[in-house]
């Protein structure tokens, strides 16, 4: 009789769990559909923090991410590899034809995820005056930073400051348009840059009329690109430039999907990221490579020894980023060069 009763209890609990998961999934599908309809009507989703975002902050996301890295790093038997990677590609819409190696050549899911592509898969736009996309992905936001606060739109109704994203000590340019050699750059950086940031100088420069034929007036632009799990996850150089400085912010590892951008405040500033800063022909250039829960590690090819997604330390929100200057002349990158790769975990 007792065994019989236990059986009913277990199957009841199982049924309740399945039912609850089903309800949650149905609600998610409904909300996604609502979002899609809004988009089709041209209504942009607004920032609306919810309980789920608050709950995420309680989860040990870094530990979850590192475990995910361990799990995906496990070697898969050769005969099983094509099956697993095809299933991944089907689930996340990856293009397997472009993979440089045969599918059974990738020892683990992690290796497959950071795969290179066949030669010629990503031709670089031949226009010498164009700036190219550093990654495969979806354009979320782009535009010109107009106010002195230099705010980047995370989603309608919420934005974050570009200086918080890149780092608190921006580069100091006295006259805003002089071509700076790397030595002057390093000298400028060594000064106490607390005086005036170049953001303001750069915005101010239209007002400061230098001889017009002397140099172009420059604005500050930004572009935010989101990579889906199935996208090619290597980061390339958008232009020919010199990277003078690298900053590593050991932040949180929230997910960065569309839902998270609408519900988690300062998402790109809170998350672990690597920022490269330097100069191209037209002035300042920077690239922030931002991790997430499932892709918590960023490996820089120009600095292979940099380790990210380290075990949990006491993270002070105001903790300054770890900085490294590329002495003496910076790292020269050509448009299209491989710069980094996102790794799982």
């Amino acid at each position: 009789h007792r065994a019989h009763r236990n059986f009913f209890m277990v199957s009841g609990a199982t049924m309740a769990t399945i039912l609850m998961l089903g309800i949650l999934h149905a609600r998610r599908l409904y909300e996604d559909r609502k979002l899609k309809v809004m988009k089709e009507k041209g209504i942009e989703p607004e920032f609306s923090p919810d309980a789920k975002a608050a709950f995420l902050k309680l989860l040990p996301l870094r530990s979850i991410s590192r475990f995910w890295g361990l799990f995906t790093g496990v070697e898969i038997p050769t005969w099983l590899r094509p099956i697993v990677y095809r299933a991944w590609a089907r689930a996340f819409h990856s293009d397997l034809e472009e993979a440089a190696l045969p599918l059974d050549g990738y020892k683990s899911l992690q290796e497959f995820f950071g795969r290179t592509l066949k030669d010629g898969s990503r031709p670089i736009d031949p226009d010498p005056h164009c700036l190219v996309s550093p990654v495969d992905g979806t354009v979320l936001k782009f535009g010109e930073l107009r106010e002195s606060a230099a705010m980047i739109d995370q989603v309608k109704g919420f934005s974050y400051s570009a200086t918080s994203l890149l780092g608190a000590s921006p580069f100091l340019l006295e006259d805003g348009c002089k071509d700076v050699t790397d030595m002057e750059y390093h000298e400028a950086r060594s000064k106490d840059s607390g005086k005036r940031s170049w953001w303001r100088i750069s915005f101010a420069s239209p007002k400061v009329r230098l001889p017009k034929t002397a140099c172009p007036i420059r604005g500050v632009f930004y572009c935010v690109i989101y990579l889906k799990p199935g996208d090619y996850h290597r980061v390339h150089s958008p232009v020919d430039w010199h990277v003078f400085l690298r900053r590593h912010f050991a932040g949180h590892l929230f997910p960065v999907n569309e839902r998270a951008t609408q519900t988690i405040r300062n998402l790109h500033i809170e998350n672990e990221r690597v920022v490269l800063e330097g100069q191209w022909d037209e002035g300042f250039m920077s690239m922030a490579i931002i991790g997430a829960t499932n892709v918590g590690s960023i490996k820089l090819f120009i600095e292979p020894e940099l380790m990210t997604n380290r075990p949990k330390r006491k993270l002070l929100q105001t903790e300054p980023p770890e900085e490294r200057r590329y002495e003496p002349r910076g790292m020269k990158l050509k448009k299209g060069d491989e710069v980094a790769v996102f790794n799982m975990g």
Binding site: L131, P216, F221, Y232, H268, I290
Partner: protein
């Protein structure tokens, strides 16, 4: 994962001679799917 570019580029009202051609313009729209090597602005 996400990548954010922040950069300087010429704006309208640049040098007298060829202001129109030297002004940076994006060649993308929000929501566009983009790939490595494709132009996002000129």
């Amino acid at each position: 994962s996400t990548v954010v570019l922040v950069f300087q580029a010429p704006v309208a009202g640049s040098t007298e001679k060829d202001s129109a051609s030297s002004e940076f313009k994006f060649s993308i729209r929000s929501g566009d799917r983009i790939r490595v090597g494709e132009a996002i602005g000129r």
